[in-house]
Amino acid sequence: MELRLENLTKIFTNKNGQETKAVDKLDITIESGTLVALLGPSGCGKSTTLFMISGLVKPTSGKIFFGEDDVTKLAPEKRGIGLVFQNYALYPHMTVFKNILFPLENMDVPRDEAFERVKEMANLVGIGELLDRKPSQLSGGQQQRVAIARALVKKPRVLLLDEPLSNLDARLRLQMREEIKRIQRETGITTIFVTHDQEEAMSISDKMVVLDFGAEQQYTAPQEMYNNPANLFVAKFLGNPPINTFEAEVKSGNLLINDKKFMSAKVPDGEYIIGMRPENFRVDDQGFEINVKEVFHVGRDTMIHFDFNETNVRALVDSESMTNKADKVKLIIKPSKVYIFEKETGKVLNHE
């Protein structure tokens, strides 16, 4: 089911009359059967967007389409969505079986078929043996699977997940995100999930939407976004360790770093913000010489700290290539991996 958001906007007015724009003219088409992440820092409007898609929150303006249908004014229960809450919202007094059965009780489904579907869904998410337990007797991961099963048992058109992994411990998170991916593949349902963890979003989603203050920053596949960020915000948001950014001047088509020419740049002269990812540096004799400030060895990686234009910059290189405590080191970086951002807007200039 293709999902289309057309100029979706949400403005909250609080008691004192102050307005907050939570979502700002979001315009996105999500292809059927894809797993899309809504990514962004706290308060960027991703949960609000999710709830507008679900129908629990009414948009201030804009439209939402499920396929051909305009569902903007439709009540949540009529849209055919499945929603998994951050705290799972399982009914504590019902068994797992009854929890999953609950949505079907409100639909036009014969009893036998309903029971079959519950069992089928439980097996799909991997909790087939736990049907008689109550939620309090389950672990966090198991509870989440129940929540997913409950959302899917309706065979919804769209599956929505609100920060599904944030309540789990680190190791479980790894496991569960792969599970989510697997379930999505097997059912083929268009799925949207909200997260603030970029690593999580990048690892499993087909495409990501990065939001900041309710506005879309970029919408594309994870690796593409990582390599070709549309603006400074996206570049800074993705990547661990984070991208290095510093101010630099371009004069006569040359990028100047530490008052030396670093590389040529096909942009007009002026002041820009430069972005370079730590892992894109290599130690090489032909490279740009820098004064080493500090060196951190962490297993197979070594982190070198130095200054570009009086800003601290990190380079992540192989431990093999950087053995001793040298004061000076020569580093190179591919020009395609150097990002030049416009100072006022943050837009990237040398990448398409």
């Binding site: 129908g55 629990l56 229960e77 969505i81 499945g82 929603l83 809450f85 951050q86 007094h93 609950f102």
Partner: protein
Amino acid sequence: MDKNLFEKSKKIEKITFIFDFLAIVIYLFLFFSLFQLLELPEIVDGRMALETLEFMTPIYEYLGSSFTHTQMNSILSILVIFSIVAVPMLVINIKKNNTKTIYDIDSYVAAGKFVQALINLLSFNPISAALRIYNTFVVIKFVKGYNVKEFFKSIPSGIKGSIEAYKEKRRILAEEKQVSDEYSQSLKKSIRTQTLFHTLRLLGTYLFLVVMALIIVIPFYWMVLTSLKNFTGATSADPEFFIGISRWNWVNYKVVLTEMNFGLYIKNTVIIALFSTAGTILTTILAAYAFARIEFKGREVLFSILIMTMMIPGELYIITNFLTVSRNGFGWVGMPEGQNQYFVAMIIPFVTSISYIFFLRQNFKQIPESLYKAARVDGCSDFKYLMRVMVPIASPTIFTITILNIFSSWNAYIWPRIITGVGGEEGKSYWLISNALRDTSFTLDNTRVMYNLQIAASTLVTVPLLIVFFAFRKYIMNGIGRSGTKG
């Protein structure tokens, strides 16, 4: 650990339950049949000649045998004692049997079963006794792998073993005393003093608790004791603290139930309690839900108004409510005979209580809102959500409200009194137990009070509540404790 033996023991236990239950049924049946036979004094000039009660010595015939008055008392007493012992035992056993796992079975369980077998024998329940003894040996086999013969053979060696262990302990202690290290000596001394203080304090606490408990319990004991005495015994200047089972006058209860109409009054009270509680639960659940979950303008204002009215004393309401239900208002009471609706007047005004609404609303608010959202997404209507999610989750609170309401109905006095007071004779038949207790004349010739009968009425009125209490003990106590902490 032979699982089969465990299962077998459980099965035998289940069969034993059937016979236990049968025994209880028989006890109760016998009790009620004999109770029916008890003879009451004759009716003279329209009232029962209760002065003769003490001197009656009827002979009873039952199933071909004849019993004297005192023998009848003894039999009834024994039947009551059996029932009081057997019913809780059965209930506890059933609970235990369902929850015991294979790891809980040890030799104490076997000993317990054996003791219960003895109790069964004493209660004239030979079948249960035999089954239990058999079960004892099954459990022993399970725990120790012995069968019967080996078990008995193992007893002497078991005794020897424990004597050995004891001797060993003594030896180690004596060795430890040899250690002349100063520090450890003084350390041991201070530990001993500490333990002494600790033990003293523990003893003191228990003593205090026991004294308090006695103060609480003695009125109950005195109540039951007096209810079974005869008139002389109850009014004597030197009352006995204990009477033998042959002198337990069960006929007192029969008098109170029939001649003094307490059967009717208890029935009235039960009706009131049932309907008022049902109505209260209904209105409270709906109203609490409205205040907790439904968004409407002025919700908080309306709720605050309700809270403020909680402070106003109930006496204020009674005055006007009396006018409202009488001839000037709804006309439920104060009308000519036959047109009065006493039950309606007693129930309807109290079918809602703001404090219960407040209490339940608190509980409803604690249920996470995400559950509501999840249910809405699944197409669940408000009412369905209330009934199938919120009510089950809040059921402990609802249960507490039920209990509180039942207790207050049981204790209702002033309102029923006012309502039935205007009805004269007709009103009297609608008395509730509190009214009956206070306003029934228990006197002989209007001077001497028949305390034994009066106290028997009190006991009759107290016992049903006690039974309810013991059945739901945990829930009631937890609920009351929690209702206080709502703050």
